[in-house]
Amino acid sequence: MRLFRLVAGCLLIAAAGFAQAADAPVFDAAQTRRILSHGPWPPEMVADRSNRLSGRPEAIRLGAVLFGDTRLSGNGAISCQSCHQPQHGWSEARARSEGLQRLDRNAPGLLNARLQRWFGWDGANDSLWAASIRPILAHTEMGGSAAATAQLLRNDPPLACLARHVDPAAAAMEDADLLVLAAKAMAAFQETLVSPRTAFDDFRDALAASDRIAMTRYPAAAQRGLALFTGRGQCGTCHSGPNFSNGEFHDTGLPFFIGDAGQPPGTPRRVDPGRHGGIAQVKVNPFNLLGRYNDDPSSPAAIPIRHVVQLHRNWGEFKVPGLRNLIATAPYMHDGSKADLHAVIRHYSDLDEDRLHADGEAILKPLNLGDAEMADLLAFLESLSGPEDSAARYQALRAEAARVCP
């Protein structure tokens, strides 16, 4: 009997040693299924049927050039790149963006943007190309116009040449159609911004293949963080799927009021309506997928806007962001109010339950995490990042454009 116990014990230790470091968690069947649902990565590249330029090399090239062109703005000084900077994961280090005026929201990173269903923190756009028109026309952001954009594409020799490669009839198009062409080209470029495979993806694939040796390469702290994420933390309820986002909108209990520091006392405080306002906007947007600029009205991408309804609880809801390559995109949240990932984790740990809608969802609860648990969760979130070369590819596309159309 004692011998049996000894042998069994040795076998167990050996098995554990192979499976993972001694302090790594063991995942049950339900958790394993949840972990597998966060992959595989990268997802298959599917063309956006609402955008006839999606995936076309000439359009991607034109889009990369326009993305960095300050002449799309009213004052000739602001480009997309001013707020979506390659070295910051196509986001920026400031909390709230500054265009022609200071905005209420943080510029989201653009890696994996093509995987979204709704665009903007409030989902006020339903396609990547419509979301690329918005900043050009917004008087608070770039303050440009369809007429000025069209003139630029017609009259600037290199841009006119690049546009001709995309569509030989470009020069003869109406202003609005040329604006849409520019936005669709920029969308085609942004579709190529995909975050790389990470340590997490290697672990996930090893788990799928029951490759215990490969699984041990994933640090024990990240594994414990993953167990929290898919277990007690319930993070995957909203941050679901390979991109860690369900593409929908929730209230995570951030303060309602927009922090306008330095305002004189007595200034009325402002509230960001979030998804409530976004639904109202997307329904009346002439560039939405129900409008005439959608290149394929039968595309399944046009189903959600037909059925989306504005509900009282949408007030103060914001889009669930994906969690890949967050390392470069600090600060976090729609208002940039969390300086680093540790601050985000602390927010979920100390949630103010009274602040969350009483009639709302019953998902988020203060997690009251210990220091070690917070460190584990951080190790997991950091394992969703990896080195990526989109900045270099952006420069290469721009150089290629300069060669093709000097």
Partner: protein, 132 residues
Amino acid sequence: MRAVALSLALLLAPASVLACADLPVQARLVEGSHFRLVVLPDPMPIPLNAPFALDIKLCDARMAELPRLSAVDAWMPAHRHGMNYMPKLAKLDWGHYRAEGLLLHMPGEWEFVFDFAGPDKPERLSFRFDAQ
């Protein structure tokens, strides 16, 4: 006049009872008071986080007693919230409907709810589904 129309309808119907044969294994069946509800998702199985439709049939009901389906919805009992989308319901034929534009945006248990109006009294049928 109404009586004539009614008897004509009964005559034209292949039988006075709507039978549903050859149901795929993935069909969900729910027993109603005097009919069976048969629900077929499209695509199958129900996807998580992507739009889908439901093909809905009322089987084994006598034509004259056929209730009208008035609403289809889905919600998560544990989270106390429904979908962010309003399905559109269309009647295709006697006892045959299609609901478009449903989307389950979270993993976990959802309850599908089907509301019927008359002829005698309203009736609500439901089934639960674990979305993963």
